[in-house]
Amino acid sequence: MAACTVYSTQSLSTNCSISTPSKTQLSFHQKQVVFYTTSRRNSKRGSNSGRSYVITCAAGDQQTVVIGLAADSGCGKSTFMRRLTSVFGGAAEPPKGGNPDSNTLISDTTTVICLDDYHSLDRTGRKEKGVTALDPRANDFDLMYEQVKALKDGISVEKPIYNHVTGLLDPPELIKPPKILVIEGLHPMFDSRVRDLLDFSIYLDISNEVKFAWKIQRDMAERGHSLESIKASIEARKPDFEAFIDPQKQYADAVIEVLPTQLIPDDNEGKILRVRLIQKEGVKYFSPVYLFDDGSTISWIPCGRKLTCSYPGIKFFYGPETYYGNEVSVVEMDGQFDRLDELIYVESHLSNLSTKFYGEVTQQMLKHADFPGSNNGTGLFQTIVGLKIRDLYEQIIVSKVETPVAGKA
């Protein structure tokens, strides 16, 4: 793989598209175009051997940072996305004038795509074959890889749309390379090729008890649903979930684990949560958040003389651990914030938050006080991860400016 020609031209500023064997749409909207050849075989349409040509628009000022977010359906991906895009600034909205059932969200800086769009089997197809959407056989990882790679290289793609209402694949939509691309869904870290494209990855790990409680909240109003049907659905999907989704957490740079509280003995209400932020050590551009002293083990109850908390209180834990053979730092919060001063107090005692001003975490939490989890560890850690990703993005951009484009090929 080598750069062979470099064009610097203004005439390509209009959109044009070239069909490659992978059917990736190309559009040029940058000043610099780098042509190079690659011998990567097209595995899906593998019959055409030999070389396929990939054309990359790589401009020095345009670099797409790719973030992966994995979680099961109904485990708070959408809420997390709203917090994340809010930290980046500006609201993320569906593409204007497009398919109203599009799953994509676009803001000034960020594009969020839903990996359900890479279903290779639609609802009827899955029913016929007896496979779930969790099953890799229902997903087209070749296309997922090709398109995420293209976007990362600055090339627009025509991405399919999986329509969650009809269960059909709708005509594709054009996705232009954004500054930050978030791929969210069931399998962002399943395929090793896609995984290697990720600059940062997050897994939302919701314990069975909490998952059940959340789905009851979500579904009980729905006609036809009952406690039995909610339970049956979770149970039926469990084998595939454990086989294909859960193992991805070993690859995540950050895992947010949501568990029932330990503050109330034998609590089974699922109302108070114990949330753990598991942060991988040694990840480039990511330095974990800590409590008081980096690398120590600390148990902290902020409630006392200085801060009064209501029942059952708030408890923090911080310390180094091993997670799937990796060194990690864990920050844990059990309980919930009932008052604003509790949140401010906690924020002021956490270090390495990557905030831009004092109170930014509190401000973000307040801004979205209507989102689920804004008064507990889920909201707190989602916000913190958002800040860490903003910081990671800024560091990557700075490093790219320092190292010219040539370093890429």
Partner: protein
């Protein structure tokens, strides 16, 4: 009456939070933010546990949406599921998806009657999950659509001129 109180509470709370936000945003320099925050201690941050949205529902009173956890339906234990309660209905998902959810549950129960571990059964329950999630998203979208567009805009862009509030 209970509904009304909760509705008012959540409304007041959102206004309160909104105005707090504006204070923070208009005092964006670090030092000032700190001062402002210090004066705000004691304000309750707790989110309303039950949110009823009473406006504009096109649905008949078929169901009550228990907006929060296990504890809620259990406390209401005296009331049987499916019995119509005499409080205002909450919006369920738009009708089309709701029907699909209901139908998919029936299909799943039928598909699992023979072998509960068969691919057919598992795929059918997976469809229920997919449709339930879609219905929930549709509800959220509708809720956003129904609320004040300026409020929505200001929630995401409190720093813009049209969202700033000024004291005399």
């Amino acid at each position: 009456m209970c509904t009304q109180t909760l509705l008012n509470q959540s409304y007041n709370l959102s206004i309160l939070i909104h105005s707090l936000l504006r204070i923070i945003d208009s005092n964006i320099t670090p030092k000032k933010t700190k001062q402002t925050m210090a004066t705000m201690t004691g304000v309750s941050l707790s989110c309303p546990r039950v949110l009823f949205n009473a406006s504009g529902s096109r649905q008949s009173a078929h169901a009550i949406r228990f907006a929060l956890p296990l504890s809620q339906p259990m406390r209401a234990g005296a009331i049987q599921m499916g019995q119509v309660m005499r409080i205002r209905p909450v919006r369920a998902a738009p009708d089309k998806i709701s029907e699909k959810v209901e139908e998919s549950i029936k299909n799943a129960q039928e598909a699992c009657a023979g072998d509960p571990t068969s691919g057919e059964c598992v795929a059918a329950w997976d469809e229920v999950e997919e449709l339930s999630a879609a219905a929930s998203h549709a509800r959220d979208k509708q809720k956003e659509k129904d609320s004040d567009p300026l409020e929505n805009y200001c929630k995401d862009n409190p720093e813009t001129i049209e969202c700033k509030t000024f004291d005399d």
